[in-house]
Amino acid sequence: MEAIKDKISVCTAGNLSVMDKPDNSGIEKQKFLHRLGVAIAFLGIWQLASIHYHSNLLLPPPVKTAQRLLMILQDLDVLKNLAITLSRVLTGFLYAIVIGVPLGFLMGYSQKAMQALDPLVGSIRQVPIMAWIPLTIVWFGLGDGPTIFLIAISGVFPLILNTIAGVRGISQDYYHAARSMGAGAWSIFAHVIVPGSLPDILTGARLALGSGWMSVICAEFIATSAGFGYSMVEAQTRMETDKLLALMVMGALVGYVLDRVLQELNKSLVAWRFSKQ
C-alpha cells in the first residue's frame, strides 16, 4: 500500500515538473534564440562590411578580431597596462566614496547644508568631465594624477546624489521609533541613516565605478604613457586595427565584470531588501 502511494506521489510530482518546466524553459529558449539571432546578424553585417572595404586597417573581420582578442588576453604588456588602469580606477573610486558619501549624508540630512552646498555641487557637476583634463595636467603633470582625479570627479556626483536620495527616502517613522527607544545622535546615524540609505549608496557606487571606467580610458589617451587607454592609442598609431577592436571588446568585458561584482556585493550587503516573503 505504502509503495503504491509513493508511486502515485512520484507520478504526480513527475507530471507537475513536466507541466511546469517546458513552459518556463520554452520562454528561456526563445529568448536565447532571439539574442543569438541578433548577435549573428551583427557579426554578419560586420563580416560583409569588412569584405566590402577589404582593408585590415579600416575594418578587420570578426574572426581576425577574435583571434587577436585571444592573443591579447595572454599578452603580458596588455595585462600590465590593464592592471595599472584598474588600480587607478580603484583609487579614484575610493576618493569618490570618501568625499561623496559624507557630503551626501550631510546634504541629505540637513536642509541648511543642502541649501548652502547644492548650488556649488550643481555647478561643478555641469562641467563636462573631459574639460577637466587640461587643468589636471597643469596640476598633476602627466601620469596617475589626472586619471585618478578624473575617475574621482566623475564618480563623486552619482555618489552624492544617490546618497542624498537614500537619506531622504528614509521614513520619518524610523527616526521617531529610534528616538522613542532612547537613541542618541550616533545611533540615529549608525543604525538608521547608514543602513537605510545603503541600497541607494550602492546604486551610486555602481554608477560611479561605471563612469570611472569609461572616463579613465579617455584620460589615458591624453594624459599618460601607461594604462589600458594608452595601449589603445599605441595600437592605433601602429595601425593595428584588429588589436584596437580586440581591446575595445576587452574593455566592454572588464566593465561588465566590474558591474557584476558590485551588483553581487549589493545583493549580499542589503540582503534585507530581497528577503520578502
Binding site: H176, R179, S180, M181, G182, S187, S275, K276
Partner: protein, 256 residues
C-alpha cells in the same frame, strides 16, 4: 506612573487658514490602565498621541509624565506604529535588543529579557528572521514587544491593527489582549474601531471631530479575557456607536 494631559491645544496653519485640531484637551491616566482614544478620522486623536510621544509639540498646554514635562521622544514612552516601523535591516532579535542596548542594559539581563519577550509573544525560533519575512501578526507582536523591551512607563499605540482585514483583526486583538495580560503596562491606544476599543480597554475616551473635544470618558467594566457575545459587551457597543455618530455629526452640522 502618572500621566497628565493638561489643556493640550494644537493649531495648524494651512493656506492662511487657522485649523484647530485640539482645543484644551485634558485627562489623566493611572498606572496599569489600558486606555483607548476613540473618534472619527480627523478628530486629532493621532495628533494627541504623537504629542504625548514627543514627535511633535503642542501649541498650548503640557504633557506631564511623573511630574516631568514631555518635550521630546524618550524611552519612558514606547511607541507602536501603525505600519510597525520595524527596522527592515535588522533581524527580529536585533530589533528587540535595540532599545535595551540604547539604555545600556547589561548583556545578561538583555538576553534574559529577550528570551522572555519572545516566549511571551510566541516568537521563539523567529528571532533570526528579517521583518520582511514575517507575517502580519508576527510583525505586530514583534513591534509590541520591541516597544516593551526598554521597559517604558507607558506604551503608546497608533491604530496598531489599522492595516489588517476584519478576520485577522479579531485574531490579533485577542493576541494583543493576551500579551497585555502578561505584561500589564499602561497603554494608550488610538483607534477608530468601536469593537476594538471595548475589547481591549479599561477606559474609552471618545473624542469629537470638533476640536478634539472629549465627549465621554467611559469605564469598560467587563471581566477579562473579554467575550464579545455577552449582553453587557453589546450594550457598550450600542452606546459607543450612538456616541460616535454624535462625534461625527458635530462636524457635519458645523460645516453646513
Amino acid at each position: 506612573m502618572n500621566l497628565q494631559i493638561e489643556n493640550i491645544s494644537k493649531v495648524f496653519f494651512h493656506a492662511d487658514k487657522v485649523h484647530t485640531v485640539l482645543k484644551n484637551v485634558s485627562f489623566r491616566v493611572q498606572e496599569g490602565q489600558f486606555v483607548s482614544l476613540l473618534g472619527p478620522s480627523g478628530c486629532g486623536k493621532t495628533t494627541l498621541l504623537t504629542i504625548i510621544a514627543g514627535f511633535q509639540t503642542s501649541t498650548g498646554g503640557q504633557v506631564l509624565l511623573n511630574g516631568q514635562e514631555v518635550t521630546k521622544p524618550g524611552p519612558d514612552r514606547g511607541f507602536v506604529f501603525q505600519n510597525y516601523a520595524l527596522f527592515p535591516w535588522m533581524t527580529v532579535r536585533e530589533n528587540i535588543l535595540y532599545p535595551m542596548k540604547r539604555q545600556k542594559m547589561p548583556r545578561l539581563e538583555r538576553e534574559a529579557r529577550l528570551d522572555n519577550l519572545l516566549t511571551m509573544a510566541q516568537l521563539e525560533g523567529k528571532e533570526h528572521l528579517m521583518p520582511g519575512q514575517l507575517s502580519g501578526g508576527m510583525k505586530q507582536r514583534t513591534a509590541v514587544i520591541r516597544a516593551l523591551a526598554g521597559r517604558p512607563e507607558v506604551l503608546l499605540m497608533d491604530e496598531p491593527l489599522g492595516a489588517v482585514d476584519f478576520q485577522m483583526r479579531q485574531i490579533l486583538q485577542e493576541e494583543l489582549e493576551a500579551l497585555w495580560l502578561k505584561d500589564k503596562t499602561t497603554v494608550i491606544m488610538v483607534t477608530h474601531d468601536i469593537d476594538e476599543a471595548i475589547f481591549l480597554s479599561d477606559r474609552v475616551i471618545v473624542m469629537s471631530a470638533q476640536e478634539g473635544e472629549i465627549l465621554e470618558d467611559l469605564a469598560v467594566m467587563l471581566p477579562r479575557p473579554r467575550v464579545r457575545k455577552s449582553g453587557l459587551y453589546q450594550g457598550y457597543k450600542e452606546h459607543l456607536t450612538e456616541l460616535l455618530q454624535i462625534a461625527q455629526g458635530a462636524k457635519t452640522v458645523n460645516l453646513a
